[in-house]
Amino acid sequence: MMTKLRNRDLVIRGLIQENTIFRQAISLCPAIAVTSNLRNGLMMGLAVMFVQAMVNITVASIRQFIHPRIRLPIFMLVISGWVTIVDMFMSAFVPEVQAQIGLYIQLIVAFASILAGAETFASKNKPVAAFFDGIGRGAGFLIALAFISAVREILGKGSLLGMPILAGSKPLLIMVLPAGGFITAGVLMALFNFLDSKYQKKSEALAGSAE
């Protein structure tokens, strides 16, 4: 079934209603593994956004030629192909950045969120819509990672983007360790859903009073 949503709504849906981390709660492994500081979180989010958009375009362009029985292995090839290409080009043209995040780039192959995007949306829609869906999902992932990693870096290292901001205080080591990742992700997820439900109630009340 083709989507009837406009491109702008596709992006917003990926950002909020279907946020990969806070709503769908998939790809939580990278959300915890690489978010011990803000810079890593941002880099990972950007790489995922790019790969998601490219994979969505590719899958949407070839969707009519693919037999449904073997769509998943073909999606996997598309994903790993794009990830490898990104990795190769980064190590050729921006080796400093690649040295920092090369490890995470290769991890993207195994992200559930990318495969989910290809399977649930791109394989049923046109390339342009699929591109915006990919950007939305990627941006949602990026923002979630940015929040988690900012909280963890501030509390766990007393710094933000490597600059010390909580000078003199003793950082909480647990926030940089995996346990801190789970705690932060859980608390932020609860906060996100709390704010969202408040917003929903408010807009319902508004709609009610208007009638």
Binding site: A33, V34, T35, S36, N37, N40, I62, F65, I66, H67, R69, I70, P73, I74, L77, V78, G81, T84, I85, M88, F89, S91, A92, F93, P95, A99, G102, L103, Y104, L173, V176, L177
Partner: protein, 217 residues
């Protein structure tokens, strides 16, 4: 449910897509790999030149093996051709990667600089081996300090919190490098051969012979 038509379609799908994917990857690799190789060589050269302050020229002395890898070692010459120090490349098996690093010592075998060339340790924990604080611990120390401890205030190397294995990998690889370098250089000076490349390339063997002779005496 699955007829011959489907089977044919599945087969042609797989063949075409995987061939296309393979071709794209091969061409991307062919395009990028020479650039990557050049980048790596440039980076290594730059690192070599910047390892010892005041060095003008870096001359390769030979190869040695560590962690099943072949690494190189060099001498750094100051402007008046006096030896400013030695540089040695080394590898250490960390938690999830081989930590590739470069160590520079002055002629008295005290560490003056250390650079991590590549590593893929756990982000946020093990990759802190590249932090200034961790590397700074090595400066001014020598072979006897190369030991990992978990307490502060010693003259040993303090482990990174949550990354003892990575810390130990770096320290042990530097320790092996220092041990090797000390032997290699003693051999060259004791045999009083002008430190030409060939003479030192055989240093490992010569050291072994020296050691066994010393044992007999």
């Amino acid at each position: 449910m699955i007829g011959p038509k489907d089977i044919f379609k599945i087969m042609s799908n797989l063949v075409v897509i995987y061939l296309a994917g393979g071709l794209i990857l091969v061409s991307a690799y062919a395009f990028t790999s020479p650039i990557v190789a050049k980048n790596d060589a440039n980076k290594k050269n730059q690192v070599l030149k910047s390892m010892i302050p005041g060095s003008e020229k870096v001359v390769k002395l030979g190869d040695w093996t560590i962690s099943d890898k072949t690494a190189e070692y060099y001498k750094a010459l100051a402007a008046n051709d006096k030896i400013a120090g030695y540089i040695i490349e080394t590898y250490g098996k960390g938690y999830s990667s081989n930590i590739h690093s470069m160590l520079a010592v002055d002629p008295s075998m005290r560490i003056v600089n250390i650079t991590i060339l590549s590593q893929a340790e756990t982000p946020g924990l093990g990759d802190e081996v590249e932090s200034k604080w961790f590397k700074g611990q090595f400066i001014g120390k020598n072979l006897s300090n190369m030991e990992v401890v978990k307490t502060t205030g010693t003259d040993k190397i303090q482990a990174l919190t949550g990354a003892t294995i990575s810390s130990r990998a770096v320290v042990n690889s530097e320790k092996a490098a220092l041990e090797f370098l000390e032997k290699a250089i003693q051999t060259t000076s004791s045999t009083a051969v002008d430190s030409s490349i060939q003479a030192v390339a055989g240093a490992t063997k010569a050291t072994a012979t020296n050691a066994s002779q010393a044992g007999k005496q």
